[in-house]
């Protein structure tokens, strides 16, 4: 295969990488004044990367001698990642403008682009080291983003915590990779799969456990979730929204690809780990959220909870299960980005962000449309039909039942009732409690309002009309792995 063909298959990453470097130069010379330009240019670059997926990058097969693969699964994940990243870039200016302290700097969209390039590598990697490089590129950008409000102590704390624990997780993952490499003699996924299909040594099993532990950290599954609430709470809200969406998709994509492609023959071994992580995430994500008073922390636990549900699809280990995971992540990022867009609207008279759940009291009277959208996101996250979040749960549980995992399905779905409690609490605060001071409206937020409306329509029952399309793509993406 010619080098040009290889490059064509990695076109989205090239677009993002080159774009990020050019924009970095623009921002170095343009200074803070160029923020607006750089932001829109970044969105355009993300769109360009998305368009690049229509070429060989969308369905080209292996590239660079099997280090990288451009298939439908990667393309599906990348589309989600780019959309989520673009929205995270677009929601930032409104937040930073009115927050005292640091303004939005043009580095913000540039870092987002770099992170997106890393995430693209994560979902396309078919080699342990490609995977690791992609993961680190994504993580390093994310550490900086978490502490983007330099003068804010909580933001700095979030960045530091994220960095230290992230480095630990990378260490665990690398240790696992080294074990796998040591006992299989290769870092290529198909070689590893061949090793797992043969005589399985203790070393390979240990490698598997460590790799999954490292991945569990990245998707913030219990018991490697402890960084999530602190980082989500401390990071600037648009960054939190980003963390809760795009890197989740990327890490989940990575988990699925490693589990199916590299360790598919050892499904029985990793299934136990995934089942434990799924149930523990669902239960802990739900129980720990009950006592929260900060909406961002609540959404952090909600993301842990949701990752648990997505893992139920992975536990099935079938094409339907993988399709369920992808469907789940699609609907999940719509719900989660929508919720964070509403959280961005929570501000006092001076424009300072307000984060207590109690401040939502009576929002149904003061901002009825916003409250209705938030209520829809909450009911949808709880998986109550007819909202679209129900279909997300439906897809993963359908796969689990088809795979014969009845106890997992029954326990998992019963535990979702606990989760429903705290989502209901948000609705209760908005609808049943007496109004406190209203959140003021600010000029020039048509874009954010529009994004909330789009997310709300997507997760409304109208979303069901997207099922044939979404289901078809998710299934095509899943088939690419088997």
């Amino acid at each position: 295969m010619s080098y040009a063909a290889n490059l064509a298959m990695t076109l989205p990453e090239l677009v993002l990488g080159v774009g990020a470097i050019v924009l970095m130069l623009v921002s170095a010379w343009g200074g803070p004044g160029s923020t607006r330009l750089v932001s829109w240019a970044s969105v355009a670059i993300l769109a360009g990367a998305g368009i690049a997926l229509t070429g060989p990058a969308g369905n080209g097969g292996p590239a660079f001698d099997g280090l990288y693969r451009a298939d439908a699964f990667a393309a599906f994940s990348k589309v989600l990642i780019y959309i989520a990243t673009a929205i995270a870039i677009l929601m930032a200016p409104g937040f930073f403008q009115r927050t005292s302290g640091d303004d939005l700097r043009p580095e913000y969209p540039v870092l987002m682009l770099l992170s997106a390039a890393g995430m693209g590598m994560m979902v396309s990697a078919t080699d342990m080291l490609t995977l690791y490089v992609g993961l680190e590129l994504q993580s390093l950008a994310a550490y900086v983003l978490a502490s983007f409000m330099r003068r804010d102590a909580r933001s700095a704390e979030a960045g530091l915590k994220y960095f230290v624990l992230g480095a630990l997780a990378s260490g665990i993952l690398l240790y696992g990779i080294s074990l796998v490499y040591g006992f299989s003699g290769t870092t290529l996924f198909d070689g590893i799969a061949a090793a797992y299909a043969g005589q399985r040594s203790m070393g390979l099993l240990f490698g598997l456990v460590f790799v999954f532990a490292g991945i569990a950290f990245k998707i913030s599954a219990v018991p490697f979730h402890m960084w999530t609430p602190d980082v989500y709470e401390g990071a600037p809200t648009p960054v939190t929204a980003f963390f809760a969406s795009a890197p989740k998709v990327a890490a989940m994509g990575l988990a699925v690809r490693v589990a199916i492609e590299a360790m598919g023959p050892a499904t029985d071994q990793w299934r136990q780990i995934v089942i434990f992580a799924a149930l523990a995430s669902i239960v802990l994500g739900a129980v720990a959220a009950i006592g929260q008073t900060n909406i961002k922390r609540l959404l952090a636990y909600s993301s842990i909870n949701n990752v648990g549900f997505a893992l139920i699809g992975l536990a099935a280990g079938t094409p339907a299960g993988v399709a369920g995971v992808m469907t789940y992540m699609t609907i999940y990022i719509a719900m989660t980005l929508g919720s964070f867009l509403v959280v961005l609207q929570m501000r006092d008279e001076d424009g300072q962000p307000v984060e207590t759940i109690a401040s939502l009291s009576g929002m149904s009277r003061t901002r009825p449309a916003l409250a209705a959208a938030m209520a829809m996101f909450m009911f949808s996250l709880a998986g109550i039909p007819p909202l679209f979040g129900f279909y997300a749960k439906f897809a993963v549980f359908d796969a689990a039942v088809a795979a014969g995992l009845f106890p997992l399905a029954a326990v998992g779905i019963a535990a979702s009732t606990i989760g429903a409690y705290y989502y209901l609490r948000v609705v209760k605060t908005m609808y049943f409690d007496e109004p406190v001071t209203a959140f003021p409206r600010f000029e020039g937020e048509v874009l954010q309002g529009g994004l909330i409306a789009v997310a709300a329509v997507f997760i409304s029952p109208l979303g069901y009309f997207a099922i044939p399309l979404l289901g078809g793509w998710a299934m095509a993406a899943a088939q690419a792995l088997f």
């Binding site: 007819p386 039942v401 609705v427 099922i467």
Partner: protein
């Protein structure tokens, strides 16, 4: 009427009106809601008159597009027809009952009620398993808001309890549904009703469905959400909760548990009978000591619903027809009783029984109607309650003498708590000046209660109108489940007294248990 999508239209009218209400001022929203519900009632009458009694099992069938995991398939049989009629009949009354008493956030209130109507009709009309589930479960959202926003003092606790209790039950049912659809390869309810699951699988599926329907019904011991939800809900909310939403449980047993899992239903009849017998006696006794009127009626609902479940699981015509009539009758009567409570609550703003008394002196019209509905609840001949209880218990007697005996005590206890309630509220001295100042029924209130009274009387005097549409459906159901019918515990053996004595000695006080293996050939108890 064939080919015209009347069921979709019945769903569309309140759905559009619900959206419209959100953007309208209070008074216009009330009018729009009333008109929409009346249009639906009119459509319901069209539905009933053009329903071909004795014709095809499924009528007004609509085959819609398939959206991923479910299809927009609608269609009704006699059971669904009657329950849809109940819903569309009660709905305008609910809107009317809230005309003056709800002044807070009226557009949202009307929208929530109209949405509830859509979901109720959808639940009864769905012919696709997952479409049914969507409607069934979605009903939680508007009801949660109705209880939580417009409810009484302790509304938040009640709304949570209602939501989480019913959600937990339904989720297990969803898992069972996933399995059924994967195994049978279809999500069409008529086809699933003809599919035979292996007996050991049936038991699990039955239990999963039971978890949902028992909570919805509600059956003892998972009934505790009901008194809270009823007491805290606004009057119209209680009417719709008691009138229609409780019927979803009974409808579920009728539509799913019995025809889809006949063997499991037969094996687990003892469970239904035991829980129902306890429910009748226990909740009746609890109702007897209530100081809160709504709570008393809520507990009486649990007792009445137990009569429904024993009737359904009697596996014979009388039982099933009685259960169905009981659902309709209870929907009307308890709805009317909640309206009666609402009438005096609007005047004195308390549900405390001891605050009232002597209402027959200053509110004679109210006292007469209240007495009528009290009698209907007790099951006085000539009212719908009698037909329902009589048929249901007669059906049960053929299967289990003991259950019939225990549940019949519920009628006596029912008379006790209802008459005791009526005595305290309507008779005696007027306790205070406030009560003396209460005006009699307004013409609006009269117009709400009179139609219900008329239908209750109609159902009591000429139940044939209501039994005819479901006759063939009962026959179809019986043909399906007859093979799994539980054995009767009463074994009259003509001409063989020795065997009868032996059988009696073996059975003792146990009803129905282990009789399957019996070697004697008992005569039919029918």
């Amino acid at each position: 009427m064939e080919g015209f999508p009347i069921l979709s239209l019945m769903l569309a009218v309140p759905a559009i009106a619900a959206v419209a209400c959100l953007f309208l001022p209070a008074q216009t929203a009330r009018t729009v809601a009333l008109i929409a519900t009346l249009i639906d009632f009119a459509l319901g009458i069209v539905l009933w008159t053009s329903f071909d009694i004795g014709g095809a099992q499924w009528q007004f069938v609509e085959q819609g597009p398939r959206l991923g995991f479910f299809a927009w398939d609608l269609g009704i049989d006699g059971f669904a027809l009657l329950l849809i009629m109940l819903s569309v009949f009660l709905m305008p009354i609910c809107i009317g009952a809230s005309w003056r008493s709800v002044t807070n956030r009226v557009p949202e209130y009307m929208a929530a009620f109209l949405l509830t109507e859509v979901l109720m009709i959808g639940t009864f009309a769905a012919q696709d398993l997952f479409l049914f589930y969507l409607f069934f479960e979605a009903g939680l959202i508007p009801m949660y808001l109705i209880i939580g926003i417009w409810g009484g003092a302790n509304r938040i606790y009640a709304s949570y309890k209602f939501f989480l209790y019913t959600l937990l039950g339904s989720l297990l049912m969803l898992i069972a549904m996933l399995y059924m659809v994967q195994t049978a390869g279809t999500s069409s309810i008529p086809r699933l009703q003809a599919f035979d699951f292996p007996a050991h699988v049936q038991t699990w599926l039955w239990l999963a469905f039971f978890a949902s329907f028992a909570v919805k019904m509600p059956m003892w011991p998972v009934h505790t959400w009901l008194p809270d939800a009823h007491v805290q809900a606004p009057t119209a909310g209680s009417v719709i909760l008691a009138g229609v939403l409780l019927k979803l449980g009974g409808y579920g047993f009728l539509r799913f548990s019995l025809p889809m899992f006949p063997e499991a239903s037969g094996q687990l009849t003892w469970l239904i009978f035991a829980l129902s017998s306890i429910a009748v006696i226990y909740t009746s006794l609890v109702a007897l000591v209530q100081a809160d009127m709504k709570k008393l009626i809520a507990y009486s609902s649990v007792a009445h619903m137990a009569i429904v479940t024993i009737g359904l699981f009697a596996f014979n015509r009388q039982g099933i027809e009685g259960a169905m009539i009981m659902m309709l009758s209870h929907g009307l009567v308890s709805g009317a009783l909640f309206l009666c409570v609402g009438v005096i609550y609007d005047r004195l703003h308390t549900r405390e029984i001891s605050r009232y008394g002597g209402l027959s002196i200053n509110m004679p019209r109210y006292a007469i109607l209240f007495l009528f509905f009290t009698m209907a609840s007790i099951g006085l001949p000539g009212t719908s309650g009698f037909v329902a209880e009589f048929l249901s218990l007669m059906g049960t007697y053929q299967v289990s003498t003991w259950t019939a005996l225990l549940c019949t005590t519920g009628i006596i206890l029912g008379a006790a708590y209802m008459l005791y309630l009526y005595r305290r509220v309507a008779y005696g001295e007027i306790p205070s000046e406030e009560v003396r100042a209460m005006p009699d029924l307004s013409s609006r209130e009269l117009w709400l209660l009179a139609p219900i009274a008329a239908v209750v009387l109609w159902m009591g005097v000429y139940p044939e109108s209501f039994m005819a549409p479901m006759r063939t459906d009962v026959a179809t159901l019986l043909a399906r489940i007859d093979r799994a019918a539980p054995p009767s515990d009463s074994k009259p053996t003509a001409g063989n007294p020795a065997a009868a004595a032996k059988a009696a000695a073996e059975h003792g006080g146990e009803h129905g248990a282990a009789a399957a293996g019996h070697e004697t050939t008992p005569g039919e108890a029918h």
